[in-house]
């Protein structure tokens, strides 16, 4: 069930520091996300970046997306491991920003228009229709974002990034403000997106430990070390190695509950 191999590095950070004036936000952040291969399966990667509110998660998130330049260090992307540029990593912000003047169809189309893939209008319509069908949005394509619920907007926001061709998608607090049933739906959605392509890599930035860990194959703890200013990745949990990844009923596993307790202590 859990036979897997980790291959080339897809996203990495080397000695990333971020400082605003005298205030050190991030210190010495290092990580490597590798392409995980599972036998007979098309499976991407899901990383959970967990930390307390105000610790610098969003800043690290923006550095990973190339939207903020770190004071020192580099984030590298792809098989060639070149420095990340804005537009190479998709983001799904907490409030699911969409273009309010465009219908859902046209919001999705703008992703496809900028994907660099040449498609006819009919082909674009078919591709958008397929995604809308898969993610239960088919009946909403002619609506405006203001007419959708939070969960529907989240799905549109994620698919918009997928259609742009972004293999790396960062999600800021995807479980925020959702009831338990919706959380399960979002977890299912994230699994579905991660399985669309072998290289799809989702990084979930959250302070919701249980839900983020339930969907992830790797958990990073962002926090401060004693006596040192600025947050760093204090600990990395490889859930594939410990057999806690890719299990739909993971929440009932005693080892998972122990892991959650251990993570809480780390924060």
């Amino acid at each position: 069930m859990n036979a897997y191999t980790k291959k080339q590095v897809l996203l990495s950070a080397e000695y990333v520091h971020l400082q605003y004036g005298e205030k050190k936000i991030l210190r010495d952040v290092n990580f490597k996300i590798r392409d995980i291969h599972r036998e007979g399966m098309e499976q991407g990667q899901v990383v959970a970046l967990i930390g307390r509110s105000g610790i610098g998660k969003t800043q690290l998130f923006k550095i990973m997306a190339g939207l903020v330049q770190p004071t020192e260090g580099t984030v590298r992307i792809g098989e060639g491991q070149h420095a990340v540029k804005p537009g190479q990593v998709g983001i799904v912000p907490q409030n699911y920003i969409l273009f309010n003047h465009r219908t859902i169809y046209r919001n999705l189309k703008i992703g496809l228009d900028n994907s660099g893939v040449t498609l006819t209008e009919a082909e674009k319509k078919r591709v958008i229709g397929d995604y809308a069908e898969t993610f239960d949005l088919a009946e909403h394509l002619n609506k405006y974002p203001a007419q959708l619920s939070g969960g529907q907007r989240q799905r549109v926001s994620i698919i918009q990034q997928v259609l742009t061709g972004n293999k790396f998608i960062l999600l800021d607090e995807p479980f925020s403000g959702l009831d338990i049933l919706m959380v399960d739906k979002v977890i299912a959605l994230l699994r579905k997106v991660s399985m669309l392509s072998e290289q799809n890599t989702l990084v979930i930035v959250s302070h919701d430990i249980e839900n983020a860990a339930a969907v992830a194959d790797t958990v990073w703890i962002l926090g401060k070390e004693e006596g040192k200013e600025g947050a760093t990745i204090k600990k990395e949990y490889d859930l594939c190695e410990t057999g806690l990844a890719w299990k739909p009923d993971i929440r009932t596993d005693r080892r998972f509950l122990e892991l959650i307790e251990e993570i809480k202590k780390q924060l």
Binding site: L67, P86, G90, I97, H101
Partner: protein, 261 residues
């Protein structure tokens, strides 16, 4: 009883029927108080109504009305073009000081500039138009820059992650994405233009206009005609505002989805 309570409850959104009833009732009440108070210096509603009838029968009324409307529309169209040009240019850092200066021109009085504009223009029509434009553009640019400044950083970040360049982001977020708000700004400024028109028309009376009618009636202390003209100006203003509001919802249907009412 509940409905009565609701109309005095803060933030309560009333249904369309109740709101219309409330509006009509308050208007009737105001007219009634006005009529019964005798008006004093102000002519009572029945006299104003009669004066409106008289104004409509004046041979030059239609000409004056169209002169005012034509001048307002001409002034508005030119002001929109100039204001949009300045506002969109302000996104390019090199042009930002120009936009900031135009905003500050709100504090320049028109009266002091009439002489300069008289020298710079060739006839009364041009003088009125240029003063109208000079009066509207700073307010228009101020509101437009407010709209642009209010755009969240996240929208531009979304464009970046969708691999759009700066020009595409400008087009999508600032120009097309805010067209509904530009239209609303235009609607608000149409009111300012309509308000200014009567003052500006007084500067060159040969071409007529509702402002000229007002000045003449004031000169001969025809208060009923003055108020009759004001009622016509007021009613036309409300009518234009309503039409522009309808257009806004027709052109930008999503705007209706984002408001409480």
């Amino acid at each position: 009883m509940n409905k009565l309570k609701a109309i005095f409850e803060p933030l309560k959104v009333l249904d369309k029927k109740t709101m219309t009833t409330l509006l009509v009732a308050e208007a009737v009440l105001a007219l009634l108080v006005w009529q019964l108070s005798g008006g004093g210096l102000i002519p009572t509603p029945d006299k104003v109504l009669k004066a409106v009838g008289t104004i409509f029968s004046m041979p030059d009324f239609i000409d004056n009305l169209f002169a005012s409307i034509a001048l307002t529309i001409k002034g508005m169209v030119l002001s929109i073009i100039i204001a949009l040009f300045i506002s969109y240019l302000s996104i390019v850092p090199a042009f930002q000081p120009i936009a900031r200066f135009v905003i500050k021109c709100r504090y320049l009085t028109l009266t002091g500039l009439i002489f300069l504009f008289t020298l710079l223009t060739q006839n009364g029509g041009q003088l009125k138009l240029s003063l109208l434009i000079f009066g509207i553009v700073p307010f228009f640019v101020t509101t437009l820059l407010g709209v642009i400044d209010g755009i969240s950083k996240q929208e531009f970040e979304l464009c970046t992650t969708l691999r759009m360049n700066s020009w595409q982001s400008l087009w999508e977020v600032v120009i097309v994405g805010r067209l509904d708000q530009v239209f609303e700004v235009m609607r608000q400024n149409f009111a300012i233009a309509w308000l200014m028109i009567t003052s500006v028309e007084g500067l060159s009376m040969s071409q007529g206009g509702l402002g000229v009618m007002l000045i003449k009636a004031n000169k001969y202390v025809q208060l009923d005609i003055v108020f009759g003209t004001l009622v016509i100006i007021f009613a036309l203003g409300i009518f234009f505002d309503f039409i522009l509001g309808l257009f806004r919802h027709w052109l930008f249907p999503y705007t209706k989805l984002q408001t409480r009412r």
